[in-house]
């Protein structure tokens, strides 16, 4: 940790916390107050997050994620995303690395507000589908902190499209073809990692192995109550457009063993405003 954090601290001693820091602190504080974060190691990391410098923030966030993320699932991928994020921000693209965490914090606060509001009238499972608060927060952690993992692919795809057009225009078809290949990866039936998803409806139940695109199509149909033809069209648009929500849901599907179907659907739909609205509407119906 650089001493520049110290500088931040000393500066605050005379000028108080900066407004951005104060905003982040206000999102984190309820997590402590409502015992969502109990353990002192986690508390320390969450407390460091708003006060350290931007350079140090990434380290802190990776540490937070390595502590918070359920064991055996997607470990260290945050570190990988961070490395790519540096490249994207360097070319002027919007931050998604910290953004996911801030979405998580915002969501936790909202969930907490809802839980408090419904305390006497409604059971949590009626709204969130889980009895246990821990499950609600875990689901939200995955939904929020994974929803943009497909973003690098979307950006890379956009770049490769431009490169493909560039070299095609220069009559360098082979080179143009190379960049087109990247864009068709999602349809690559030979890529084992992109084909299957292991899923079980109940814990300890027998695993089902599904084709990933079929599985996602089913989610669109079933969870969003959309007919098969339209769902296929939507899926096709996602694949052609290298939609980062769709890619993120694929990444989650292949990592998560237990059913997190809402989570996956939410991630899948989050980049398509109409679908996202439908997702929420459906969630409320459920």
């Amino acid at each position: 940790m650089l001493l520049s954090s110290f500088y931040n601290i000393e500066k605050r001693l005379t000028s108080g916390f900066f407004s951005e820091q104060r905003a982040e602190m206000n999102l984190i504080k309820p997590l402590f107050e409502n015992n969502i974060i109990k353990n002192s190691k986690e508390k320390l990391l969450f407390s460091k997050y708003p006060i350290v410098t931007l350079a140090e923030k990434g380290d802190v966030l990776c540490e937070i994620m390595s502590l918070m993320w359920p064991e055996g699932i997607i470990k260290n991928q945050y570190e990988l995303l961070r490395n790519f994020e540096e490249f994207l921000t360097a070319i002027g693209k919007r931050d998604h690395f910290f953004h996911q965490f801030l979405v998580y914090l915002l969501g936790v606060n909202l969930i907490e507000l809802i839980l408090n509001k419904i305390k006497s009238t409604t059971k949590p499972e009626d709204i969130f589908g889980f009895k246990n608060k821990k499950d609600i927060y875990l689901t939200w952690l995955m939904a929020s902190c994974f929803h943009d993992f497909g973003y690098p692919y979307q950006e890379a795809s956009a770049i490769s499209k431009k490169l493909s057009e560039l070299y095609s225009g220069m009559d360098m078809d082979n080179l143009a073809e190379q960049f087109t290949t990247l864009r068709s990866t999602l349809n690559n039936k030979h890529d084992y990692n992109l084909v299957f998803v292991k899923i079980s409806e109940e814990q300890n139940a027998e695993m089902q192995i599904l084709l990933i695109h079929h599985f996602l199509l089913e989610l669109i149909e079933e969870y969003l109550d959309i007919d098969t033809d339209t769902a296929l069209k939507i899926q096709n648009d996602f694949i052609i457009g290298a939609d980062h929500g769709y890619v993120s849901s694929i990444l989650l599907c292949k990592s998560v063993i237990n059913s997190h179907l809402y989570t996956t659907t939410l991630i899948l739909a989050h980049n398509a405003p109409n679908l996202l609205y439908r997702t929420c509407e459906r969630a409320m119906e459920f």
Binding site: M1, L2, L3, S4, S5, F6, Y7, N8, I9, E10, K11, R12, L13, T14, G16, F17, Q21, M25, I28, K29, F32, S40, K41, K43, L44, F46, S47, K48, P50, I51, V52
Partner: protein
């Protein structure tokens, strides 16, 4: 006076053991119950009544004033008000300005030598006249202050003065002897005798006397009517309706515009007085026409009516009481005068200190455009140090000018570096808070101005210095200033260093400018606050040992990681000074240190926040705590210092503890508010996380600091022991409101005892502490 301060080193003095008891032992050094403030005012002629009414009302309105009395002064001051209060804080100044006051002086007094405040007011109320004798006692190698006090009591007994009362002061003069009488003639003789009798030997250095009349006697006299009415009314006062004896003759000095000379002369001739034109500050002298004996009421009537009648035509009047001296025994002296050796002055006050010599060209080199301002301040101090009647008050500042020159030279060379041919450098401390050399000079010169002002108020021997209009404290506080100086002198001398600075006053907090330590005015009469001097002395100490130096490898490493080395240096210096204060003054009692510091910070929070947020202190204290746990008490190891989780828990518990202490203190003192929780509690997780980063980073620095402390060849670490047993005895006596005359070996031990019992603070104990420390400062 100030013999210790005449020496560049404050050497521990041999403590007097087994003082010989005397018949006045129960009186000498015995402080009374409350504070009495004496406000002395010069009033524009004709405005006495308005001013007196204003003061009377102010005293009645102020609930802190327990009792008060006004007297009319005959002499330098026109109106004097005595009022009893709990502390020396600001009182009457709260009631704003009023027309007619041209000068004022405030004496911070207390009942002394076995009297209490009720006795004082009873006496002031009982007699028509009160003689107010401000006495500066002498001290030298042969006579200590307690001996002088004893001689004064003996003298009062020998003279058979019955109705007297003694006030002590924390100002320049030690004693105010009040003598009450209904017979102004007897009173005048008693008072005049204090100024000239040989019996007084060497124990009185200077007196300043005023005869006063109880204001109630003249309150209802309407001077707006004619002189005859005033005369008739005053002649009804029995004590005034006596003839002025032949050997006493009052006179009046008048300062006026020349165009009114003839009117003034006519008036006084009409009153049957002789007038003389005078060359000098005053213009007309009025003396008694001895052919026709007059009464006191006649004299007073003429004076009162004159001041009203000529109210906007004269500048001032000054009344003098003259005694015709009988000198039969002195004839021999007169005859032998040519062959006589005149003895040297008996008081050490007269000892001259070498003045600061400097070349203005050097000042120009060091301080550029501010050189002349620095020079003017040095000239002023030099001239005061050469005035034998008042230099004793400024002696403690005498070493600072040399320090300014030394610091100026150091800044210059430091900034110039090896480039000898370079022009005058623009900044000092390139790695520290950027301050221009000119500004540094300005601040040091201003420190001299402030120091002089703090010491000028309430000196009576020079008419130019009865007051200092711009003094931060409107009251003589010279004894209190010297008392506080004992602490830095004592600490630095124990560490084998000298202290070239002095104490000055600046509200609201303790601070320092290189050698000069500034204290809030409240600290002058509250020794319970003197512990804060340890921290400031720590800063002075740092300038000697240079532990926080940019040349040290450990410091270099630390600052290489920060973009603001100036803030960082400042922070490290504050940490060392804080640790220094803890180790020097709290004898390992961390709980006491924590409570004392936080209670103080809570009290000054609203003003303090403008300078440094209270949370900054939390961090400093936490550093002291963990440093103590690791290096003093050895309760934790290096791994724990570097364990973030451990530090985080410690920091969170620390914030809660600090908050509880502050809350508890504010609740008890009735200052608690219903406001939201303070930010430091709401944000405690984040503060704690920040401190974890900082503390971890400071581990190597702490190790380095500890090795420095351990390798010092002299006492620094108290290891939890109060080493000066003698001072526990001193504290016992002080706690009873009696001055400890035998010297104080370890002032920190006395302050430590005071702090342990700080919730039972009394003005009596505070004053006894001030006088005991002051006595140690002036002890031969």
């Amino acid at each position: 006076m100030v013999c210790i301060l005449l020496s560049p080193f404050f050497m521990p003095k041999s403590l007097e053991v087994g003082r010989v008891t005397t018949r006045h032992d129960n009186k000498i050094g015995s402080v009374g119950d409350n504070a009495i403030k004496v406000a002395c005012l010069q009033v524009k002629p004709g405005y006495e009544k308005d001013v007196a009414k204003f003061l009377d009302k102010a005293c009645e309105r102020d609930k802190r004033v327990k009792q008060h009395i006004l007297v009319k002064g005959l002499g330098f001051y026109d109106i004097i008000v005595f009022y009893e209060v709990d502390t020396f804080e600001y009182h009457l100044s709260d009631y704003g300005p009023t027309d007619g006051i041209t000068a004022s002086n405030s004496l911070l007094c207390f009942p002394y030598m076995g009297t209490n405040s009720n006795d004082t007011f009873k006496m002031l109320n009982k007699f028509a006249f009160t003689g107010i004798n401000m006495i500066k006692l002498a001290t030298n190698e042969n006579i200590s202050i307690d001996k002088s006090e004893e001689k004064l009591l003996n003298y009062i007994e020998d003279k058979k003065i019955e109705n007297y009362n003694i006030l002590g002061t924390i100002g320049w003069n030690e004693i105010i002897l009040l003598i009450g009488d209904n017979d102004i003639q007897k009173l005048s003789l008693n008072m005049l005798s204090l100024s000239y009798e040989e019996k007084l030997e060497c124990f009185i250095e200077k007196t300043f006397s005023i005869i006063s009349i109880r204001y109630r006697i003249i309150r209802n006299i309407d001077v707006k009517k004619d002189l005859a009415t005033v005369k008739r009314k005053l002649s009804k006062v029995p004590s005034l309706n006596k003839k002025i004896p032949e050997d006493i003759f009052p006179s009046i000095m008048i300062s006026s515009h020349p165009s009114f000379y003839n009117y003034i002369n006519s008036y006084w001739i009409y009153c049957d007085y002789t007038t003389r034109d005078v060359l000098g500050v005053n213009d007309i002298l009025i003396t008694n026409n001895t052919k026709v004996p007059k009464t006191w009421s006649h004299f007073l009537s003429c004076l009162l009516y004159f001041r009203y009648k000529f109210k906007d035509k004269i500048f001032s009047t000054s009344t003098l009481l003259n005694l015709r001296k009988k000198i039969p025994s002195n004839e021999a002296y007169i005859k032998k005068f040519d062959f006589m050796d005149i003895p040297s002055p008996c008081s050490t006050t007269y000892k001259a200190i070498p003045i600061c010599k400097f070349k203005t060209s050097s000042l120009k080199k060091y301080f550029g455009t501010k050189a002349h301002f620095v020079a003017n301040n040095l000239f002023s101090l030099n001239s005061l140090l050469q005035n034998s009647s008042i230099r004793g008050v400024f002696n403690d500042m005498a070493f600072y000018p040399n320090s300014i020159l030394k610091i100026g030279k150091m800044y210059f060379e430091e900034a110039q570096g090896k480039k000898r041919k370079a022009k005058r450098p623009k900044q000092i401390y390139p790695w520290r808070r950027p301050v221009s050399i000119e500004d540094a000079g300005l601040r040091m010169a201003n420190a001299i101005t402030e120091g002089i002002q703090a010491r000028s108020y309430g000196i009576f021997t020079d008419l130019d210095h009865p007051k200092s209009a711009y003094s931060r404290i409107r009251g003589g506080v010279q004894r209190a200033i010297l008392a506080t100086e004992v602490i830095p002198h004592s600490i630095m001398s124990k560490l084998r260093y000298n202290w070239d600075g002095f104490i000055s006053i600046e509200d609201p907090k303790f601070t320092h400018i290189n050698e000069v330590i500034k204290i809030p005015s409240e600290a002058l009469w509250r020794p319970e606050l003197w512990w804060a001097l340890y921290h400031e002395t720590g800063h002075v100490f740092l300038t000697r040992v240079n532990w926080v130096s940019e040349n040290e490898k450990i410091i270099k490493e630390l600052i290489s990681e920060t973009s603001r080395p100036d803030l960082f240096f400042n922070f490290l210096e504050e940490l060392v000074a804080e640790l220094f204060g803890y180790e020097i003054g709290f004898f390992g009692n961390y709980d006491l240190y924590l409570e004392v510091l936080l209670e103080y910070l809570a009290d000054i929070e609203t003003t303090q926040r403008k300078y440094v947020d209270i949370v900054a202190y939390f961090l400093r204290i936490l550093f002291v705590k963990i440093f103590s746990l690791r290096f003093i008490e050895n309760k934790i190891n290096d791994d724990q210092w570097n364990d973030e989780e451990y530090l985080y828990k410690l920091a969170l518990a620390h914030i809660t503890e600090c908050h509880d202490i502050i809350k508890n203190h504010l609740d008890k003192s009735g200052k608690a508010t219903e406001l939201d929780e303070p930010n430091y509690i709401m944000d405690k997780y984040f503060w704690a996380a920040g401190w974890v980063i900082t503390l971890k980073k400071l581990f190597n620095f702490a190790k380095y600091l500890n090795s420095k402390i351990e390798n010092m060849p002299y006492t620094f670490r108290s290891n939890g022991k109060v080493i000066c047993a003698n001072d526990t005895l001193a504290y016992k006596q002080i706690n009873e409101g009696k001055v400890w005359w035998s010297g104080i070996e370890c002032p920190e031990a006395v302050i430590y005892e005071l702090l342990k019992d700080r919730h039972n603070e009394t003005i009596k104990r505070s004053i006894a502490t001030i006088l005991s420390f002051w006595n140690y400062a002036v002890m031969p």
